[in-house]
């Protein structure tokens, strides 16, 4: 009889022979592995997922950096060339900036909804 089993039976005030036999069954079952186990290639799958996650993060970082550089470039260009929003399409755009903001917000919202729906589809296939 193991030390744990002896201790348990000793602390159990109702402990008698029947209890000890029942405890033996309980302790034997507690040592058994549950039916669920991960497959042989589990570690490889997780490593691959972690690598993908790192790559996605890196891609996002580059995208952010690219956008930031683009904005800085645009500002520098405007300052250096003394560009003014007075010509043709730019004149139209400057007068309807609310429409442009709405269009950008709408497109972003559409992408967000699309992403959400795609994720749910992945989660509940079929």
């Amino acid at each position: 009889m193991t030390k744990d089993l002896q201790q348990q039976a000793a602390f159990d005030k109702t402990g008698n022979h029947e209890d000890v036999e029942a405890y033996k069954k309980v302790f034997a079952a507690l040592k058994r592995e549950p039916s669920f186990s991960v497959n042989h290639s589990f570690a490889d799958e997780v490593v691959s997922l972690a690598q993908k996650k790192t790559e996605t993060y890196r891609d996002g970082l580059w995208l952010g950096l690219g956008i930031a550089l683009l904005v800085i470039g645009a500002i520098v260009t405007i300052v250096l060339t003394g560009f003014k929003i007075e010509l043709g399409i730019f004149k139209f755009l400057s007068s309807s900036y609310r429409l442009i903001i709405f269009a950008i917000a709408f497109i972003l919202a559409l992408h967000w909804v699309d992403r959400k729906m795609l994720k749910q589809k992945d989660f509940f296939p079929g």
């Binding site: 309980v26 079952a29 040592k31 549950p34 186990s37 991960v38 997780v46 972690a50 996650k53």
Partner: protein
């Protein structure tokens, strides 16, 4: 602990072979915890993956105040509990009342279930019916060999409570075994 330090340092420096080794070393521990706490077979593998991805993400914050396995078991336990909450699956909290204990012991039909030839399998079924904290304590102690203080750290409870839960969980199982198998079969 020294091995843990070397392994963590290799992984944080981008060594994916070291991460693979970490997974191999701890996959049983994580599978035990997820397998015991989560009943939905289709969710288990994904949850185990999520646990290790979290480990990978947070490894830089690991401060070596405990063993790496204790830290990973903590992440696995919290992940399982969060999953149960998210899915709105009832987490049976520990109820010290006699009502709960009597109900646990008297639930089920011995005549029907004794068709199960393997007594070990039947006791495993009883374990599945226990509240989550009892299952976690039993698993960490009996399958993964964690000490009382380590289990207390994983489940965020004092050592005394761990001992108490361990004792009560085994006692409940014993009572249920007695009810199912009867005096004649046990003696």
């Amino acid at each position: 602990m020294t091995d843990d330090r070397a392994l963590v340092s290799q992984i944080t420096n981008g060594d994916m072979q070291a991460f693979r080794l970490l997974i191999k070393q701890h996959e049983r521990l994580v599978a035990h915890m997820i397998g015991r706490l989560i009943d939905q077979a289709e969710d288990r593998k994904e949850l185990c993956q999520d646990v290790f991805l979290k480990v990978y993400e947070k490894l830089g914050e690991f401060n070596f105040q405990s063993r790496l396995s204790t830290w990973i078991a903590t992440i696995a336990y919290r992940h399982a509990i969060n999953h149960l909450r998210k899915r709105k699956i009832e987490i049976h909290n520990i109820d010290e009342s006699e009502g709960f204990q009597n109900q646990f012991v008297s639930d089920g039909n011995p005549e029907q279930e004794l068709a199960e030839k393997d007594t070990g399998n039947l006791v495993m079924k009883f374990i599945e019916q226990l509240p989550a904290q009892y299952k976690a304590v039993l698993t960490l102690y009996h399958l993964d060999g964690l000490t009382y203080p380590e289990i207390g750290e994983v489940l965020n409870m004092p050592e005394g409570t761990v001992k108490n839960y361990l004792f009560r969980a085994r006692q409940l199982l014993k009572e249920k075994v007695k009810r199912y198998f009867g005096k004649e079969e046990l003696l």
